[in-house]
């Protein structure tokens, strides 16, 4: 395997091949792509491996360092799991777009300059939307368009930001940018949109739950993690990110408690987890950044696992509404067990992978004196336990018996979940031998400290105690067949309503104005017709002699005026 091959190339080639092959051959090709790609990464060099000159700028399509390499491995691993999970579908559109999407993500993290990064950023948008449309329901088509609109918005904002930045600094390399740099705010806004900044997050909770069961697994792995990567590289230590991140951990958990669609609960949960990462980027210390990238790594595994388990439920029952589920553990015991591993991991229970990464960010917040932020993060940690740790597995697989008796999902789905679950446990038990070896920044951290383990167990067990106490005493909110308004309401309801209202007000005015203008114009036309129309005085034919007389008269007037 040549080591100077651009890492994104195998995926883009696989996307083309997936379009023309079928059956086992296609399955083998798609499974082999991330494996071969990851093997090639082990032998890849470091530094700027590929550079080209375009219009006087040096573009670096492939730049390898520890940070990009870690995300590179992560995306290959994620792609492998998601491809395995999606093998049973024979929807060519989804397979092609999923490979292109993975290629876009890999390309973005190895992009050494802003222009290449922008191109892959757009590949991410344009390929991922098909994973939503591929559900082929009217809701999915509409949600896909809304998703695409915001993703393109992010792309355009990024382009504007990088044009300002490149014009002002003459620099195209993608390194630390910072908020003080010209165009810095535009770039961070573009990146923030894709990683769910508050009030820019609604595309995520709107579109991900509408995607196909397998598409959601790809979606939850790449777009937001690319944004986390880019923020880590270009905005580490930007203080506003601390507060934005803390707020991101805080507000979605309230929505997650009352949300009925379990894949939407996971989408809110995703914003909460991204909040931890954004907060870590804002803190900017080596420990915090290591926490951020390792949490991104783990999030791909446990959030992927949770989305896979809910995708399995969706595939087998046709719904992920909590109000219509329950009691599935009776016929889906394996999926139940795998889902619980994901739930335990995201809740940061010791010996599961979330525990070894989230605590780094929280420790960094304490070390840097951000006590109030730490309290927020601690509250958000308990909140995760409630909605992702308990609500997801409990309402899908236990709770009240829905009477549904679905079979276990296809074997490839279970295998993919098993791979992710095994990794969640292996990383949780042996962090130093696995995940921590990939960490790009220099900071030592030991999660398995007795105080830390005991306090974490206390926090989580009493959180669970509170949930079950409220459930047993009827204080816990019942699952309602309802939707909850979020910021997407602004463009799904408010703007259309405003436009309709404006139309109602303006249309009489317009009608009146139009009638007035038409009346005036009709008068003008009638007037012209009178004089110039057939039989009009000015359209009549006149003898040549009368013209000669008039010329003579004009000449005489001119001569008189001239001599006066």
């Amino acid at each position: 395997m040549p080591t100077d091959m651009p890492p994104f190339l195998p995926f883009l080639v696989a996307a083309l091949l997936a379009a023309v092959t079928r059956g086992r051959l296609r399955s083998a090709l798609m499974l082999a792509t991330p494996i071969a790609g990851a093997l090639a990464l082990t032998g890849i060099g470091s530094g700027e491996l590929l550079q080209i000159q375009v219009l006087g700028y040096t573009l670096t399509p492939v730049r390898v360092d520890e940070l990009s390499l870690m995300f590179g491995y992560l995306f290959h691993l994620g792609a492998f799991i998601a491809v395995l999970y999606a093998l049973h579908t024979d929807d060519t559109l989804q397979h092609v777009m999923a490979m292109a999407y993975a290629g876009g993500a890999v390309g973005a993290v190895f992009a050494g300059d802003l222009i290449t990064f922008f191109l892959f950023w757009e590949v991410l948008s344009l390929s991922s939307v098909f994973l939503i449309w591929a559900r082929r329901t009217p809701q999915a088509i509409a949600a896909g368009f809304r998703y695409l609109l915001l993703q393109i918005g992010s792309g355009v904002t990024l382009l504007a930001g990088l044009l300002v930045y490149v014009a002002a600094t003459g620099e195209v390399a993608m390194n630390h940018i910072g908020l003080e740099a010209p165009g810095g705010w535009l770039i961070i806004l573009a990146l923030g949109l894709k990683c769910g900044f508050p009030m820019l997050h609604m595309w995520l909770t709107d579109a991900y739950p509408e995607s196909t069961p397998t598409g959601a697994v790809f979606l939850c792995m790449f777009t937001t993690k690319c944004a986390i990567y880019a923020l880590t590289r270009s905005f580490a230590g930007a203080e506003p990110l601390i507060y934005i991140g803390a707020f991101m951990t805080f507000f979605p958990i309230f929505f997650a408690v009352i949300e009925n669609d379990l894949r939407r609960v996971l989408s809110y949960s995703m914003i909460n987890q991204l909040g931890f990462m954004v907060c870590g980027i804002g803190l900017g210390s080596a420990l915090a950044l290591n926490g951020t990238v390792s949490h991104a790594f783990n999030d791909v595994l446990f959030k992927g696992l949770l989305f896979m388990s809910m995708g399995a439920v969706l595939t087998m029952t046709g719904t992920t509404k909590a109000s219509e589920l329950g009691g599935l553990y009776k016929t889906m015991p394996q999926t139940t067990a795998l889902c619980i591993v994901g739930a335990a991991s995201i809740s940061a229970i010791p010996l599961f992978c979330g525990f070894v990464s989230k605590s780094m960010i929280m420790q960094a917040a304490l070390d840097q004196g951000h006590t109030i932020i730490w309290f927020f993060l601690l509250f958000a940690s308990v909140g995760v336990l409630e909605h992702a740790g308990i609500k997801i597995p409990f309402f899908a697989f236990f709770a009240h018996d829905s009477g549904r008796r679905p079979a276990e999902p296809p074997v490839n789905m279970r295998a993919a979940m098993a791979v992710a679950a095994a990794l969640c446990i292996v990383i949780g038990v042996f962090p130093e031998a696995t995940l921590y070896r990939l960490l790009p920044f220099d900071a030592s951290y030991h999660p398995y400290d007795m105080t830390h383990v005991v306090t974490q167990v206390q926090l989580l067990m009493f959180g669970a105690l509170a949930v079950f106490w409220m459930m047993r005493t009827g204080r816990y909110p019942t699952e309602e067949r309802a939707v909850n308004l979020d910021f997407d309401w602004i463009y799904r309801r408010l703007l259309p309503a405003a436009i309709r209202g404006g139309e109602r007000v303006l249309s009489p005015v317009w009608d009146g104005a139009r009638k007035g203008v038409v009346a005036q114009f009709s008068g003008l036309v009638a007037l012209l017709f009178r004089y110039h129309g057939p039989g009009g005085a000015l359209a009549r034919t006149w003898p040549t002699g009368s013209m000669a007389i008039w010329v003579a008269v004009l000449l005489a007037v001119f001569v008189v005026v001239y001599y006066l």
């Binding site: 309230f254 553990y329 601690l378 005991v454 926090l459 009493f462 509170a466 909850n484 309801r493």
Partner: protein, 95 residues
């Protein structure tokens, strides 16, 4: 033809659920009591970066109160944001 009856499962019996619940409460009590060991320096030595964090009962109290606050907060949030399931699907809607 009669459909085969499902086997009765452990969790189908409410008594078993209550039994599990009681065991869980007891386990929580044991875990809470670990604070005493830490305080006295037996079994493990408890260290803390903040004063409140070192107080016995801080973590389990925070866990319990945090969840109660979260759930009651969410119930209040429902009053403002909850709409019927077909809210966005009414005829004439822009999407």
């Amino acid at each position: 033809m009669e459909t085969p009856r499902e086997p009765k499962r452990y969790l189908d019996n409410p008594e078993n659920v209550t039994r599990l619940w009681r065991r869980f409460v007891m386990a929580c009590a044991v875990v809470a009591a670990l604070d005493l060991f830490g305080l006295l320096g037996i079994v493990y030595h408890r260290h803390a970066s903040l004063f409140v964090e070192g107080l016995p009962g801080f973590y389990w109290g925070w866990g319990f109160v945090g969840i109660v606050f979260l759930v009651f907060g969410a119930i209040q949030l429902r009053r403002f944001v909850m709409r019927p399931e077909n809210y966005y699907e009414r005829p004439g809607d822009a999407d």
